[in-house]
Subunit: 370 residues, 2 copies
């Protein structure tokens, strides 16, 4: 089975560690989320930090997407240069970048678009208000339970003082949250509970803000994937769903046939006595994100039909800078890896596709698709 995958990948001309995308699966993931947003009557603003790719961005554009989220000003500028006009810089705004942000806001507005920025303090809202010379969308970042950034949902006073600090062309448009604690869920039921709580807390924050026109924007992939009815949201901002990964699979927010990115790694060494194969796929390719085990990824199959199956019996049990160590279950080494040799290719499913693609970002500009 591994030999067939290796032969197929070699025919694609791969000779070194390379990200591969299953275009059909990714486009289906995009189509499904686009339709879900439409059914909910919500704006679909996918987070482009997952892929950071002009090519994948075009797949979204082809599906009708016109609003995007990014995670750095540099990424916002990159996608603005590629023609995107409605961009939310979806992490708390860094006041030191106010001049560059004002320039980007002008440029997007001139082209009929809009820049969105996130704040959770009157301090930052004031800096943006003082600097902008074109209308800029201000989202109040609300902490609905994740505990990372944002004004706590029950802190009406800070919400109101932050809104009051939005003056001139800094236009408060909504309350935005990232329920990152959904990544700790391991069932659709648990995710639905987190989503319900998120919406209830966002609504409570809106009540306390006393601005009933504020829109509600929700972002995490587990909730956006696993919850059927998102009609309580005015906007959804998932990113990870376009490729999914082993973490989403473990959470229960995707199926195996919705995994759309993987990394092809050359086999460097074969060690039957310890049932291990060492591949050129390490922390600089896959990141050190892990699942319990520890598990830094696991092998898979690929062929003319695209990306294939997940081989749970062949996890990457350790990862150093350049090397990944695949350890086969006792009964599987001979059957799966018995005839592998240095120079064969294996397919590795990543634990976290966003970090994997960020590390491979030079390749992601024009990714290899199968």
């Amino acid at each position: 089975m591994l030999q067939a995958t290796s032969n197929y990948l070699q025919k694609k001309g791969i000779t070194s560690t390379t990200v591969v995308l299953d275009k059909a699966r990714a486009q289906e993931n995009i189509r499904r989320m686009t339709q879900k947003a439409q059914r909910a009557g919500a704006i679909f603003r996918p987070h482009f930090k997952t892929h950071q790719s002009a090519v994948v961005g075009r797949w979204f554009h082809d599906a009708g997407v016109r609003h995007i989220a990014v995670s750095s000003l540099a990424m916002a500028e990159q996608f603005a240069d590629l023609g995107w006009r409605d961009i939310t810089l979806a992490l708390l705004f860094n006041p030191l970048e106010i001049d560059r942000a004002a320039q980007l806001a002008r440029s997007l507005t001139q082209r009929g678009g809009r820049l969105g920025l996130l704040v959770d303090s009157p301090h930052t809202a004031g800096i943006i208000s003082a600097a902008m010379d074109v209308p800029t969308d201000i989202w109040l970042k609300v902490d609905t339970g994740y505990g990372r950034t944002g004004t706590p949902w029950e802190d009406g006073e800070t919400l109101r003082s932050t809104l009051a600090a939005c003056q001139e062309l800094a236009v408060p448009v909504g309350l935005l949250t990232h329920s990152g604690h959904s990544y700790s869920a391991r069932s659709a039921q648990a995710i639905n509970r987190i989503y319900a709580e998120t919406i209830s807390r966002l609504r409570s924050a809106r009540d306390q803000s006393r601005r009933h026109g504020l829109r509600l924007s929700v972002g995490d992939t587990p909730c956006c994937s696993a919850v059927d009815d998102l009609s309580a949201c005015d906007e959804i901002r998932p990113g990870n769903f376009v490729f999914n990964d082993l973490m989403q699979l473990d959470i229960g927010s995707c199926r195996i046939d919705q995994l759309a990115s993987a990394t092809v790694c050359p086999v460097l060494g074969v060690y039957p006595e310890r049932r291990q194969v060492v591949v050129h796929g390490g922390a600089v390719h896959l990141s050190k994100e892990s699942l319990p085990g520890p598990n830094y990824g696991c092998l898979g199959t690929a062929g003319p039909e695209g990306l294939g199956d997940v081989l749970r019996e062949a996890p990457l049990v350790s990862l150093s800078q350049e090397h990944g160590v695949v350890e086969f279950a006792r009964e599987n080494f001979e059957a799966l890896a018995g005839n592998l040799r240095p120079g064969d290719l294996v397919l590795v499913w990543p634990v976290h596709s966003c970090l994997n693609c960020d590390l491979m970002r030079e390749q992601m500009a024009v990714p290899l698709t199968i």
Copy 2:
């Protein structure tokens, strides 16, 4: 204290997440290791995967270094383009890259240099032998206890058959090991024990190989930093020592004033009620490498004298893709962070400088030095 560091870093013109190098410290680290290699009568072949930087490479060149190690063929080509002529591709050779490697070997040889490759199987040795049209140094990778790649040191039969497969222009020059298990040591005594065992096992492997002219090459930073007398080696290949990091500090293989790289991160949010500050410094900047705690880095100081102290009371306790959460010890929040605001800058010491610099590789081409 944090405010003084922030003011100093802002005067340097930093506005977004940026790696900074203390040039004087890094050059002193290079000078010390160069002298240690000289005293040992060993070739000093620093591993350039740590910095991947043309500028830092010049600092090594200025110190007299002419031999380097790299961790991918692409990195070998990059440094060959920069004028380096004696390059060891210090991970097991991937046979799929034989054509590119042969071309690089020709190019280096024409300029009076040499390419070095690593093998641990007759299979790969045979492929190199068949393809090379200029002399190429072959290093037998030996596993002296780390358990990742290499022929086990006691497996004389494989060592001899691999040597026998080195034909024509594939010239066996030595036995090479990476004692990566030294990273688990936490005292000079423990590191010295690992080093002594490494040398003893390499010598035994050489005896079993029946080629007494083979050179011995040792690579890990903990051993090369903490062991006084390296005269049993013919070559040393440390990389991490040029910058060191919190892991080397915990291992006991460097001092605080030998930490030479850090990442400056803008403050995005301040949360006194949970004694936390959230910075724009996440897994895409620092990597998810961690020390027990967990600790994904910790804050430090900087000023006109260069990089400064390590603030153990201000660790990064969690890390997502873009965000780092700094949690201050109870008694320290007001004193250290009480007046921090979004847009201030903090200095973060990385757990693992190699992964941090790899993530910031675009900046490392011409890094900011202080």
